[in-house]
């Protein structure tokens, strides 16, 4: 077990940062990002002996993170309340910090799985196939979700200067 734990520590040390950032882009909050990352790391530890023998343990870890986040989203007290009035769009950006907030606000308006598709594809740099595997869906679904997600972002980009997208 000690050897297993040493391997686990080494693996986590090199992935923790990226995992937290991915979680942050999914949920938009660093505290929750830490919670989601912890959940994924605990699951990884629980199955480390099996996962460490896999060819791509990163995929497993990513799946655990996504599942943790999607599960969190499904909890009733996490569900957002619908309102009759659309929230205000991000203010005109004046610099990098505004852009950072703007992209988070834009992502937050997307449905969870669509947001996950964009984060996996454009932040984690996964292929369509890898994204489909991470989300447990077909490549066709990933393509369509990507297209819809990008369309939605474009539509919301009005008034947010500086953010352009490359498909």
């Amino acid at each position: 077990m000690d050897e297993d734990e040493a391997g686990y520590r080494e693996f986590v040390a090199t992935r923790m940062d990226g995992l937290r950032r991915t979680a942050y882009l999914l949920c938009g909050d660093w505290h929750m990002a830490d919670d989601l990352t912890s959940t994924a790391l605990v699951k990884l530890l629980r199955h480390w002996r099996r996962v460490s023998a896999m060819e791509q343990p990163d995929s497993y870890l990513r799946r655990m993170l996504l599942r943790a986040w999607l599960d969190e989203r499904r909890r009733p007290w996490r569900r957002e309340k619908s309102t009759p009035v659309l929230p205000e769009r991000p203010a005109q950006s004046t610099g990098d910090s505004a852009d950072r907030l703007a992209i988070l606000a834009l992502l937050a308006e997307l449905p969870p799985r669509r947001r996950a598709v964009l984060v996996l594809r454009y932040f984690c740099d996964l292929s369509v196939e890898e994204t489909a595997e991470a989300l447990g869906c077909t490549t066709g679904t990933v393509k369509s979700q990507t297209a819809r997600g990008l369309d939605a972002l474009r539509a919301r980009l009005v008034g947010v200067a500086g953010l352009e997208m490359e498909t």
Partner: protein, 251 residues
């Protein structure tokens, strides 16, 4: 920023220091892993008891010793599944006493939790050997249970009433493995009060045991299944355990 990738990278570019303590996480998982193994063994014992006893009570959630509560260094922390001897049938007097104790339990629940608290008593029965899940002497007594469903949460209350000697050793498991926390108090009336909480396996159990000076041993527990805290507080469980009528008069 020219495209989405850059925007995302910039948005996550300056993370605050992480709150994740990897060493703590590993230590917690080690402990939970032991708890899961222990819980699985305990589940087997409870299953045997349910089959033999024929009632849905859960005495096994706390290791009630025949002559005491949870002890430091208790070898029972590694659950042993021992063969359960056949139970002799209860006499008429014992069945009547079980019925009386069931009403006492129902009244006590109403008294501490209110008439609209949603508790339902399931049953009470005499057993020749209560405390089969512990290491102490299996003594005759009565066990009973009740339940409360609220949405997706389930609480089970269980009670043990018997006569047992007051434990001379009051060393209590405190912050030990398996997420067990326990305290012992010697009360002014000469009784011993044991308070225990156990978490893990998606269950949270709160138990109190009272050893009265007259030799009565009452254990009352509330287990919440599903991650929430038990509905009954420790004080409410103590109030039930201290109910004077909750004492076996026929054994």
């Amino acid at each position: 920023m020219e495209h989405l990738t850059d925007a995302m990278r910039a948005a996550a570019a300056t993370p605050p220091p992480t709150a994740i303590d990897l060493e703590q996480l590993i230590a917690d998982e080690r402990r939970n892993s032991r708890l899961r193994r222990w819980g699985a063994g305990l589940g087997a014992v409870v299953a045997v008891l349910l089959i033999v006893g024929g009632v849905a009570f859960l005495p096994g959630l706390t290791r009630s010793n025949g002559d005491g509560g949870l002890r430091a260094g208790d070898p029972g922390s590694e659950t042993k599944t021992e063969p359960v001897p056949p139970q002799p049938p209860a006499s008429t007097a014992q069945r009547e006493e079980a019925t009386r104790l069931l009403q006492v339990l129902a009244d006590a629940l109403v008294a501490v939790a209110g008439p609209a608290s949603g508790w339902t008593v399931d049953g009470t029965m005499w057993e020749a050997q209560t405390g089969l899940t512990g290491n102490g002497a299996p003594l005759p007594g009565y066990t009973g249970s009740g339940h409360r469903v609220d949405g997706n949460s389930l609480d089970k209350v269980y009670v043990l009433a018997r006569r047992a000697p007051m434990p001379p050793d009051t060393t209590c498991v405190k912050d030990a493995a398996y997420d067990v926390d326990c305290t012992v108090e010697m009360r002014a009336d000469g009784s011993q009060l044991w308070r225990t909480t156990m978490t893990g396996g998606n269950q949270f159990t709160r138990v109190v045991e009272v050893y009265r000076p007259d030799g009565t041993h009452i254990m009352v527990g509330d287990t919440a299944v599903g991650g929430s805290e038990p509905v009954l507080s420790t004080d409410q469980l103590i109030a039930i355990a201290d109910t004077p009528a909750l004492a076996p008069t026929v054994l």
